[in-house]
């Protein structure tokens, strides 16, 4: 039923329709080394996040489909969680360790960012990215738990991830386990009523082990969120519903690490980290542009993005010295 690493590698090898090879394969940096300084940790995450973006934009360009804007806005949070914050490893996933932390990508359309982050963390083989959306691939346009063992929940239809995460956090609480449950939400997705059912429920059940990351990129598929069905004042609403709220720059790794370190909240409440992000960040021509929800970059645009990303990569760690 569940397919692990070996099946993914075999499926990639067997696929008759592999996407082209990237300009260079993604560097699998793995977790931030134990005992690393805060500076070293941030540098590690910055590098990994650029590696993930430069690989995922090539996948999207090659396949001609994807949701690159919302993938880039959530990449820094995904990388921080898988490579640093979560108590999880490929070995724990393989062994179905009940004490592993859980992550639910409720904005399932950012699947490519998840898959590429899983590659960066050593959960799935890099080769499998070349099967993205290809016939019989295990890498759907939206993540499926029956196809990839490291995927905790099948998502795609919006408003599903938070209720599932509430159940996971409740299971942890019942087991008196310190494990945490993370759920990554789109901001447009907060228009779904089911999320508010779950928000009420999480507060009522006092699920401090539940941590949401709200990818506040301000854009949904067709327009600005605030021009469609506005969320503001979203922090006040969440506090009124009984949640702790932390607002950060979602592209600032120091802020991400600090926010996660403040969980579980001592108040016993669940926490929502409102991560202010930019769709398409940090690529200049995509950033905060609604067109890049599921627009596909052409070869020239991919090349341009790679130049910008490589320039950032070359500068990482230099400021700190």
């Amino acid at each position: 039923m569940t397919n692990g690493y070996a099946d993914l590698a075999a499926a990639a090898a067997a696929s008759g329709s592999l996407l082209p090879e990237p300009d260079r394969e993604i560097a699998v940096l793995g977790r931030v080394p134990v005992g690393a300084s805060r500076e070293a940790a941030i540098t590690h995450l910055q590098r990994a996040a650029i590696e993930v973006r430069r690989r995922s934009i090539q996948t999207v360009g090659d396949v001609g489909a994807g949701h690159i804007g919302g993938e880039f806005s959530i990449t820094d949070a995904l990388v921080t969680l898988y490579l640093s914050e979560m108590n999880i490893s490929p070995e724990q996933v393989e062994a179905c360790d009940p004490e592993r932390d859980r992550l639910v990508l409720s904005k399932g359309h950012a699947a490519n960012a998840l898959y590429t982050t899983l590659v960066a963390g050593g959960y799935i083989p890099a080769q499998s990215l070349r099967t993205f959306l290809q016939p019989q691939s295990l890498l759907n346009g939206h993540p499926a738990r029956t196809k990839i063992k490291a995927v905790e929940a099948s998502t795609g239809p919006l408003g599903h991830g938070l209720p599932i995460a509430v159940g996971m956090a409740l299971a942890a609480k019942l087991a008196r386990s310190p494990r945490r449950t993370f759920v990554l939400l789109g901001d447009g997705e907060m228009q779904e009523g089911a999320n508010w059912e779950a928000i009420m429920c999480a507060a009522h059940q006092r699920l401090s082990g539940l941590i949401g990351v709200l990818d506040r990129n301000r854009l949904q598929q067709g327009a600005r969120v605030e021009d469609t069905n506005g969320l503001e004042p979203i922090a006040d609403k969440l506090r009124a519903f009984g949640w702790e709220v932390i607002e950060i720059d979602g592209h600032d790794f120091a802020a991400l690490l600090d926010a996660f370190a403040a969980t579980p909240a001592v108040s016993g409440k669940p926490t929502m980290i409102i991560a202010h992000t930019d769709k398409g960040a940090p690529v200049s021509y995509m950033r905060d542009n609604v067109a890049w929800h599921h627009k596909v970059p052409n070869a020239e645009q991919v090349a341009l993005a790679l130049i910008e990303l490589d320039a950032i990569l070359a500068g990482i760690g230099k400021d700190a010295k």
Binding site: R145, S154, A171, E197, C201
Partner: protein, 312 residues
């Protein structure tokens, strides 16, 4: 002589409590439906393992998925009408597509809520749910079968929907009865015509077979506790060996009737008559509504005779 009738919810609740005593993974997840699911005693005995999410069905099903991810065996227990209609996308994506170890228990199914009207009827569930692949859609016909099905669902690793009848039904099985998933039960032998029923209509089909026997017509009565997967072997044997199949269900005819009609039309065409709902139900008690659509003993027998006349 009056036949004793049972509310299968009592069996359901007692069985769940017995299972919960043996296995601490068992949980109940409800939408303010403790009373209507008869889980009051369960909640008293297992307060931490009864999760009442309030009136929020979509969240309820999602939460069950998360509990299953954490190694629990959640039984989502809610009125069938709200559970299936309101949370259909969660059932599709979070339960069936996800192959989650979640048990969905539809209470007061069919037209059990009678006079409350079509908003509270759950006659669409079979038709909706049988389009989802690779799981189990079950409707036990009696208390013993309810106990068997609940026990089987708890032991089975995977998604299940089961209907628990509210309408009183007699016990039709002995202590040796064992539910087998995907298998029909031939509860009356006969080779003239087949009556295929599920859930509360099984006893009505048996009564119809008694009426037919008085006139020398020997009907085979198949009880199909499994709508999904359907027992193709038993249905096709009935198509081959009898004049045709009359389906009877407390549901829209696109449920069991639709499933059987599709199967025989592709594999062994035979006359099929479907008794069930074809419209939103009018006002009436559950019993009256079933009689009204022709699911009475007389109504079923009449349709069977018509089928046999037409088949000649």
């Amino acid at each position: 002589m009056s036949v004793e009738l049972f509310d299968c919810r009592d069996t359901w609740a007692a069985t769940l409590a017995n299972l919960a005593r043996e296995d601490d993974r068992i949980m109940a997840v409800v939408n303010d439906s403790v009373g209507s699911s008869k889980l009051g005693d369960f909640q008293k005995e297992f307060p931490a393992r009864t999760v009442n999410v309030g009136i929020a069905e979509q969240n309820m099903v999602g939460v069950a998925n998360g509990l299953a991810n954490g190694g629990r065996v959640p039984f989502v227990s809610a009125a069938g009408c709200f559970l299936t209609a309101r949370a259909m996308e969660q059932i599709k994506a979070d339960v069936v597509y996800s192959r989650a170890n979640v048990k969905l228990v539809g209470h007061s199914p069919g037209v059990a809520y009678g006079e409350l009207g079509p908003t509270h009827h759950s006659i669409e569930d079979f038709a909706w749910l049988r389009t989802l692949p690779g799981w189990h859609v079950l409707a036990p016909a009696s208390p013993k079968e309810t106990e068997q099905v609940v026990r089987w669902a708890a032991a089975h690793d995977g998604p299940v929907y089961l209907r628990v009848a509210r309408m009183g039904v007699p016990e039709i099985y002995g202590d040796d009865y064992r539910f087998e998933p995907g298998k029909a039960v031939t509860i009356r032998e006969g080779n003239d015509v087949t009556l295929a029923a599920t859930g509360v209509t099984v006893t009505r089909a048996l009564a119809a077979a008694d009426l037919l026997a008085i006139g020398g017509v020997f009907a085979r009565v198949l009880s199909l506790p499994s709508i999904v997967p359907l027992d193709a072997e038993a249905v096709l044997a009935a198509a081959r060996e009898t004049a045709g199949i009359v389906t009877v269900e407390e549901a829209n005819v696109a449920g069991l009737g639709g499933a059987i009609a599709e199967l025989v039309s592709e594999s062994h065409p035979c006359p099929v008559r479907r008794i069930g709902f074809r419209d939103f139900a009018t006002t009436g008690s559950a019993e009256w509504l079933l009689d009204h659509i022709g699911a009475s003993a007389q109504g079923i027998a009449e349709v069977a005779r018509e089928l046999m006349m037409g088949a000649k």
